[in-house]
Amino acid sequence: MRLLLIEDYLPLARSLTQGLKEAGYGVDAAADGETGLALAEETAYDVIVLDLMLPRADGYVVLERLRAAKSTAGVIILTARHELPDRIRGLDLGADDYVTKPFAFDELVARIRSVVRRRQGLPHNVIEIADLKVDTTARRVERGGHVIALSAREYALIEYLASRHGETITRAEIVEHVYDFASAPSSNVVDVYIGYLRRKIDREGQVKLIHTRRGIGYCIGALE
């Protein structure tokens, strides 16, 4: 999942970036509204965490322009403004959720998951594909009742594939949604991680769930 954090208070922005990265998200950070908008135009973020009082275009303006540009990213407003009219205005402008400062980090992450889930039309946090279960809350993957140990990147990849199971997903989409800019993936990093996942999930004797669409990308599902 790719996140954009637009927050001008640097100590908060730094720790949130670190925490969200550690929670498995690809995170980009912007310290003002215009930079945030520019980043959001370049990349299809899954979720944007947006402060309201920002230098150069405040949060409401950013949100308005995002929605005017038909951005479908989930937006969570994260602000010290806790008055009712502010919340209503934020939600009416197209925010998916409104979190006031100070907040618990775990709650913010839970709300991000919830927004992602709603965006994907999933009813709950466990995605089931045949006998494969991806629990997005516990960040745990099971197959046939056995827990599969995955690295953070492997998990991020399987979660993204699982969230769009049945669809064919291009490498570019994977790069955009799974890895953050800073990690600057080499051209074949997707293939390398798909290889890791196959070794752990599609073991010998099991039905293959990860399929390659030659020249296009990948697909997960028990279709073939």
């Binding site: 720790s15 275009a57 100070p102």
Partner: protein, 487 residues
């Protein structure tokens, strides 16, 4: 000396009753006196008339008519009271007698002049007696030819007194009734006003911090009572304004603390969420410490502002302060941030520049102005500090901008005033730093103003009255302005 509580209603009612009573009693007494005197005079005139009539009917020769009583009847008018009379000849022998009051022994008049007397009647009560010597015969006849006849007429005054007594009672009843009625009306009128006052005071009693928006309905009040309650309404408005400002201030303070608190919490939660290398923890603790320092600065400013606001006489230690050194020491803690934001700092204060002032206050003023400049000057800009005490300029902090919108210049010193976000860098508004600066300047007798300069630069200047006679040549001319301001 304790003052006895006064009931307005009782006092006014009693006063009205007393005034009406005195006025009516006086009026009644006058009416009674005039009427009574008139009645008595008429009564006496009738007696004299009866006497004259009787004398007239006696012949010149002193011979009585056959039926004197019947002739006199119309004049006697017994309805006015029982009347008797007696006539005497000149020699004192009784000529005639009319007897209803025969029990009273009538005596002939003494002396030549007619006279009236009040005499007690044996049956009780009193009678009026008229005695005179009159000439007999019809009027107009020569007095010399007339015979002298002594006449006494006595009439019971019971009916007259009875009538006068009735009048007294009537006047008395009218006076007392009117006093009672006017007292009642006064009581009711005052009661109505007092009741509306009582109702309003109950309303005032029920107003608390949450219903300060309510206003007293003064339309029903008499004009005289309206002003104090209208003033209460004005007072309520002022309290409401002050309270709403205070509430806004509290909300702003809590808002001011929320963002750093959120930062602190996120740093600690993320840092403690997993096993980490000591170096990572150290970095997180460093970040946390930076936030704590910011919180401290906010709290320190809030406290200083609260002290100014309460008007407590803050302790003042006036001493000679070397401004250049003060600026250096105030800028030191901001150096890191300034460097990170690529700001160039120049302290142009001459080593000789000094003022006598409270060092704690001047330090807070300087720190806040510098902190404001470091925070809001666009990255890569410059900040300069000048001081020219002899010219009245205690401190001038200039920065390369961006400029403050003209509409915001006057209000930038208001607490938590939010300006266009183009000039907000690290924070999202000006907080209370500048409010504190203004408050401190006022207590020091200084003035502070913010100005935009050509080229987008911004200057905050703290001035005082120029020192009279201060030598101007001792101050070196200011160095030329650095021309690297952002355009």
């Amino acid at each position: 000396m304790s003052r006895r509580a006064v009931s307005l209603q009782r006092t006014l009612t009693v006063t009205v009753i007393a005034i009406v009573g005195v006025a009516l009693a006086g009026l009644s007494a006058t009416v009674y006196e005039l009427y009574g005197r008139g009645s008595r005079e008429r009564f006496d005139e009738r007696l004299a008339e009866v006497a004259r009539d009787a004398a007239m009917r006696v012949g010149r020769d002193g011979i009585l008519p056959s039926d004197l009583e019947a002739d006199l009847l119309p004049t006697l008018d017994q309805s006015r009271g029982a009347t008797s009379f007696q006539l005497w000849n000149d020699d004192g022998s009784v000529l005639a007698r009319y007897p209803p009051l025969a029990s009273v022994a009538l005596s002939p008049p003494e002396g030549a002049l007619p006279r009236f007397d009040t005499v007690p009647l044996p049956e009780g009560g009193a009678g009026r007696l008229y005695r005179a010597w009159l000439g007999s015969g019809p009027k107009g006849s020569a007095p010399s030819a007339a015979k002298r006849i002594g006449i006494a007429v006595l009439r019971d005054t019971g009916k007259l007194e009875h009538r006068l007594a009735r009048l007294r009672r009537l006047l008395g009843a009218t006076t007392i009734g009117t006093m009672f009625l006017s007292g009642l009306v006064a009581w009711l009128v005052i009661h109505r006003s007092v009741r509306s006052v009582a109702r309003l005071s109950t309303r005032i009693g029920s107003i608390d911090a949450f219903s300060l928006g309510e206003r007293l309905d003064v339309e029903d009040l008499p004009d005289e009572l309206r002003p104090p309650f209208a003033k209460v309404n004005e007072l309520l408005s002022r309290i409401e304004q002050v309270l709403s400002r205070e509430r806004q201030f509290s909300a702003d303070v809590s808002h001011e603390l929320r963002t750093p608190l959120a930062g602190l919490r996120a740093i600690l939660e993320v840092s403690g969420s997993r096993e980490r290398a000591p170096s990572e923890h150290r970095a997180a603790l460093g970040d946390a410490l930076e936030v704590v320092r910011q919180l401290e600065a906010i709290v320190e400013n809030l406290l200083a502002l609260a002290r100014l606001g309460v008007g407590q006489p803050t302790e003042e230690h006036r001493e000679q302060i070397e401004i250049g050194g003060l600026v250096e020491s105030c800028f030191a803690p901001l150096g890191d941030i300034a460097q990170r934001r690529g700001l160039r700092f120049d302290n142009w204060v001459a080593p000789t520049a000094g003022v006598v002032a409270d060092k704690v206050k001047l330090r807070l003023i300087t720190s806040n102005l510098l902190s404001n400049a470091v925070q809001y000057t666009a990255e890569g800009g410059w900040i300069t500090v000048e001081s020219e005490p002899a010219l009245g300029v205690v401190l001038r902090v200039r920065d390369s901008g961006p400029a403050i919108p003209e509409s915001a210049l006057a209000r930038i010193f208001d607490p938590f005033f939010r300006v266009d976000h183009s000039r907000s860098g690290g924070g999202d508004h000006y907080g209370i730093g500048l409010t504190l600066v203004r408050g401190l300047c006022e207590t020091c007798g200084y003035r502070v103003k913010a100005e935009n300069e050509p080229g987008g630069a911004v200057a905050f200047t703290v001035t005082r009255q120029p020192t009279p006679g201060a030598e101007l040549d001792g101050s070196a001319p200011l160095q030329p302005r650095i021309g690297t301001g952002t355009d």
